[in-house]
């Protein structure tokens, strides 16, 4: 049951083949079994069971709220959840319990979803490995998969096991791992520079970054106000569209959400791609790109071509400056956004009482880790009077050039761009930590951050396993507010490539029954 898609489970719930409580208990049990992954910071067991109870009552009366009623979901720990600790994996907010729900969380709850817990991340969503939070790093479930283990010819409990595990990517690694390990059907992440798409690619799940302005950021603890969006992680494209349909729409509490009427996100099943024009940006072919990812990227392009689509090479000339521009704008906005953490109204507060400045300084030193402090200081440097014009304004100008590059390409008739999501498959943690956070972020975000600067929608779809048995995903980028078209193309691609299901039976032990087809048939009304 846990291996099924959201819509299939929803149908099963409606038909009474399983109850929300049973589903909830299965997921909770799996969360306990996979605790070593460190995907969850908080497991909201009581809340979830209570929600399951209410959902069950609704189903018994035949009054289900919709496709998400009774469905276990997880939420990244930088979304405010009323009554449930929200930490951003930082000492600054350890113990902080928000008095309200983020709009996207409220929308999920209003649809009857079961909140399983808050997932782990890099501190304040700064990072591309989910390794720099105070609760420790998140382990990629694929480290324990049969597919990976077989390739490494390891014994199940060999001595390498504990030290050679792989990162999930970040910063929404906890959410990606939670979905990948079947502990929930959908998870919320956030995406500022690729933080949803990067871990999605490394964990073999679908990671959607909606258009900026489509989904409310109210309650998402902000990093970069002009680029942040809530991200959606699911095991298939249809599920992502279902969740997007629930979350999208104007929110009067977020003035950066557009007021356009919300279109449907039900995805047609594309059979004919001959009218489609796919663009391949040539500047994305960088020397650091692994040969495996490159060859899969080529293969994907050829796939579209062989099915009749027009596939053309395009140019995004300012690509090589994109990551630098992002670095300046991101640190500058972060410096501003982190200023709210002073210990007075919420969050950690130090013991010093000599003066406000001394108190703020000590609180912030104790509350933030090196990465956050480093970004705040860099950002403040770029915002100094003598540097403002040359760094911050300059970066804003370069941002316009980058956004215009995309506009020009889409205006020339391209419908969707196809690029890699990451430079390579997931790397071992021991390898990853050899370089500092900024270097790793620059590498991890290289294909993804330009999209945030332009505010476009993008989705990472898992394509195939690498020679080591690890997932590799590719990214599709669409026109602004054309999320439905983007997902339609992604869904077609997903169907063509048939990415394999992760085989985790070894570590699940007697949980392996969750993967058996314990339904004779599930009827789906399309």
């Amino acid at each position: 049951m846990l291996g099924r898609t959201l819509r299939e489970v929803s149908a099963a719930l409606k038909q009474g083949q399983i109850t929300p409580t049973e589903l909830c208990l299965k997921c909770l049990s799996l969360i306990k079994k996979t605790k070593f992954l460190n995907a969850y910071i908080t497991v909201s067991e009581e809340v979830a069971l209570k929600q399951a109870e209410e959902s069950e009552k609704r189903y018994k009366k035949g009054h289900s709220l919709g496709d998400l009623d009774g469905i276990p979901v997880a939420v990244k720990d930088n979304f405010s959840t009323s009554g449930i600790e929200t930490t951003c994996a930082s000492n600054m907010l350890k113990g902080y319990v928000p008095p309200y729900n983020a709009t996207v969380v409220q929308k999920l709850l209003d649809q009857g979803a079961l909140l399983m817990g808050k997932t782990n991340l890099d501190e304040f969503a700064m990072g591309s490995g989910s390794t720099d939070g105070i609760f420790g790093p998140v382990k990629n479930p694929w480290s324990y998969s049969k597919q990976y283990r077989e390739k490494r010819k390891q014994k199940p409990h060999g001595e390498n096991e504990e030290t050679n595990w792989l990162i999930t990517g970040g910063s929404s690694g906890g959410s990606a791992a939670a979905v990948s390990a079947f502990t929930c059907f959908a998870a919320l992440g956030s995406d500022t520079g690729g933080s949803t798409r990067n871990p999605a690619a490394h964990c073999g799940v679908v990671g959607l970054k909606p258009s900026y302005g489509l989904v409310s950021r109210h309650g998402l603890i902000p990093l970069v106000n002009s680029m942040d969006v809530p991200g959606i992680l699911t095991r298939c494209v249809d599920d992502a569209a279902t969740v997007l349909g629930v979350l999208a729409g104007h929110d009067c509490k977020d003035s950066t959400t557009v007021q356009d009427p919300v279109k449907s996100f039900i995805l047609p099943s594309l059979t004919d791609v001959s009218k489609l024009c796919i663009g391949i940006p040539k500047e994305y072919l960088v020397p650091e790109l692994s040969s495996e990812v490159q060859s899969l990227w080529s293969k994907a392009a050829k796939l579209f071509e062989s099915e009749g689509a027009k596939v053309i090479e395009v140019s995004l000339p300012h690509t090589s400056y994109s990551i630098v521009c992002y670095h300046v704008l991101c640190t500058s906005e972060v410096a501003s956004n982190m200023a709210r953490f002073d210990g007075l109204e919420y969050g950690h507060r130090c013991d010093i009482n000599v003066s406000t400045e001394a108190m703020y300084a000590a609180t912030r030193r104790e509350g933030f880790n090196d990465v956050v402090r480093g970004r705040i200081l860099s950002g403040n440097f770029f915002l100094l009077k003598e540097n403002y014009e040359n760094y911050f304004i300059k970066a804003q100008k370069v941002r316009r050039l980058i956004a215009n590059d995309f506009v020009n390409v889409f205006n020339s008739g391209v419908d969707v761009l196809l690029t890699p999501t990451t430079l390579s498959e997931a790397v071992p943690y021991m390898e990853f930590i050899k370089e500092d956070n900024r270097t790793r972020s620059a590498q991890g975000d290289i294909f993804t951050q330009a999209v945030n600067m332009a505010g476009l929608p993008a989705v990472s779809v898992p394509m195939a396993l690498s020679n080591q048995g690890l997932p590799i995903g590719l990214q599709f980028i669409g026109r602004a507010f054309c999320d439905q078209q983007l997902l339609t193309v992604a869904k077609w691609f997903e169907k063509q490539v048939q990415f394999p299901v992760i085989q985790l039976q070894e570590i699940m032990g007697d949980c392996s029954s969750v993967f058996e087809n314990d339904l004779a048939s599930v009827s789906l009304k399309q």
Partner: protein, 155 residues
Amino acid sequence: MWARAGRRVLRAPRGGCRGFASPAGSPGKAGGGGVSAGREAGRAALETGRIAREVVEHLERLALVDFGGPEAVARLERAVAFADRLRAVDTDGVQPLESVLEDRCLYLRSDNVVEGNCAEELLQNSHRVVEEYFVAPPGNISLPKLDEQEPFSQS
């Protein structure tokens, strides 16, 4: 026009340390005349690729976050060196982009009070409150300079 002149003057020296462009005064001025002593010191230090102590202290005051050691300063220098690559981009005549939604109008809500009255809830999240006040230490004392500071208690 001034930007081009500025670029020629401030091009990074070959090899060794990178030169940093501190701007030639504010836009419109061609030369660097009239910069303050502090900025001069900052600029001189920047041109060797290292960040001057005055700038470090200034940043710590502004950010209310301390560097914590020379590694952090080195990290900042690398970050700035990374950011310097932007210089190579020609942005003449390009307007800064603040928001991707700039072509849309910001809407206004109707001026009705629909929520609030939650003082108690909000006060609960603070460590130090007195009645309905958040309590802060005295505010008119500046943070002492680095070499004047008492070491903060480690926790």
